[in-house]
Symmetry: C2
Subunit: 246 residues, 2 copies
DNA sequence: TAGTGGTCTAGACCACAAA
DNA sequence: TTGTGGTCTAGACCACTAA
């Protein structure tokens, strides 16, 4: 074991998680390129001196994340970036649109503080009336309206957040850098609704046009609710993709 | 091994998948209720005479699907149905509705053979004009229309499939038992559309009501396209849930 | 035929919860 | 202290791919 060895057997972190982090970093840092073959499982267990179960557990996590794929008899390969990550990972609108081949844009429609209404307080596990920061943004793709996002943040966790410019910098980066708030997980619901007059006008659609409506609660690593997000996507422009197991 | 033993060691299906199917069915059929503790891992491996790795692989799949959760030192429990995922596994309408607390029902609206139109042929990787079995079903929840499913099967893979009764038996079970066709993976798209006059009438909705529209191609273990499915869910009754990582 | 990932076995020790 | 799930080892045989 030396400084270059990424596997520390005296750490509290399980070996497979250490290996997962190590491989993930090597992939995202460009050490391996999409389509490249990873070392075989035997090479990995030799190199890191762990059992095959550890190697496979680490690779399983990378597979379920869509970063790599396996082919029996051939090997394990770095995946080509796809469009389907919107249903597995929390992805910023900017990255999402770039992957879809659009130029993203943002207009802040409204931003302010308000006391939490009971429905939202319940989702965020706070008392009704606690202070929320509400940010309403219009999202553009190639200059055309694509979605409206209404974000509700627990203000106590990010006081003064409204002073930042949400048109310029992703909200998630502001939360991470300024408030050390990281989104570890999120739960969301997806349904089809009809556009109200107000939504239709802002999205440049006829009244009652179908919208893909997503409500999402995001949680910190300690399972503390951070944000309640409502997104209204134009039904004629926005499509979700994903892959299922049988 | 006897007729009641759900684990068949001579089957091509891996043991952990057989165990997964068995446990999943027991949960969705109500054999265990939300909050109930499942047998411990040791009890399961004793009872089914498999190794612990097999038991854990089956349980892992149920966990990632949100059907069960584990607590170290306490046990493994059936999840409460607030945590639903139609976005990870291909799930039968019947199981899906039961998990949501509805009584499922099915009416076959139409069934017949037709030459594949070019759009569908492309999705199924066959030549335009090849024979397709088309099955159109109305899905009911507590007796009320919930969804319309239009299924297109490559008839060469399941000749005579139209002779079976799709109102009584899940299509997937017919394919598995009669044709040894297993769905291993699937890719789908999700969008919001407005109901046409015909869809609206069948779903008992006003014209142009918002629908959640899902198109799915299902693949065999050899990555052979088996089925092209179109599902129209009532926007006011059907909601997808899932969990994301940060 | 050689090498890959897929599945499976039979153990072991650990951290944690409950009695 | 007992029993749970979490992690890990060191093997084994299989199905599949490619040479």
């Amino acid at each position: 074991m030396n400084a270059r060895d990424p596997i520390n057997r005296h750490s509290n972190t399980p070996l497979y998680q250490q290996l997962y982090e190590h491989l993930r970093h090597k992939i995202s840092a460009g050490g391996w390129r999409p389509g490249d073959m990873l070392p075989t499982e035997n090479e990995l267990l030799d190199h890191y001196q762990v059992s095959r179960a550890v190697v496979r557990q680490a690779l399983d996590d990378l597979v379920s994340e869509g970063l790599i794929y396996r082919q029996r008899g051939r090997g394990t390969f770095v995946a080509h970036p796809t469009v389907e990550q919107g249903l597995v990972r929390v992805v910023s609108f900017t990255d999402d649109m770039r992957q879809r081949g659009f130029t993203p844009g943002t207009q802040v429609l409204a931003a302010g503080l308000l006391p939490a209404p009971p429905e939202i307080a319940g989702r965020l596990d706070i008392a009704p009336g606690e202070e929320l920061a509400r940010i309403e943004r219009l999202r553009l793709a190639d200059g055309e309206p694509m979605s409206i996002e209404v974000s509700h943040l627990v203000h106590a966790h990010c006081p003064g957040v409204l002073h930042f410019d949400f048109a310029q910098e992703p909200l998630r980066e502001i939360l991470q850098r300024q408030y050390d708030l990281r989104i570890e997980s999120a739960r969301q619901s997806i349904r089809a609704i009809a556009a109200t007059a107000e939504l239709a006008a802002r999205l440049d659609l006829p009244i009652a046009s179908p919208l893909l409506f997503i409500e999402r609660v995001s949680y910190s690593p300690h399972n503390l609710p951070i944000e309640f997000l409502q997104v209204y996507h134009r039904g004629d422009r926005y499509v979700l993709y994903n892959e299922l197991r049988g």
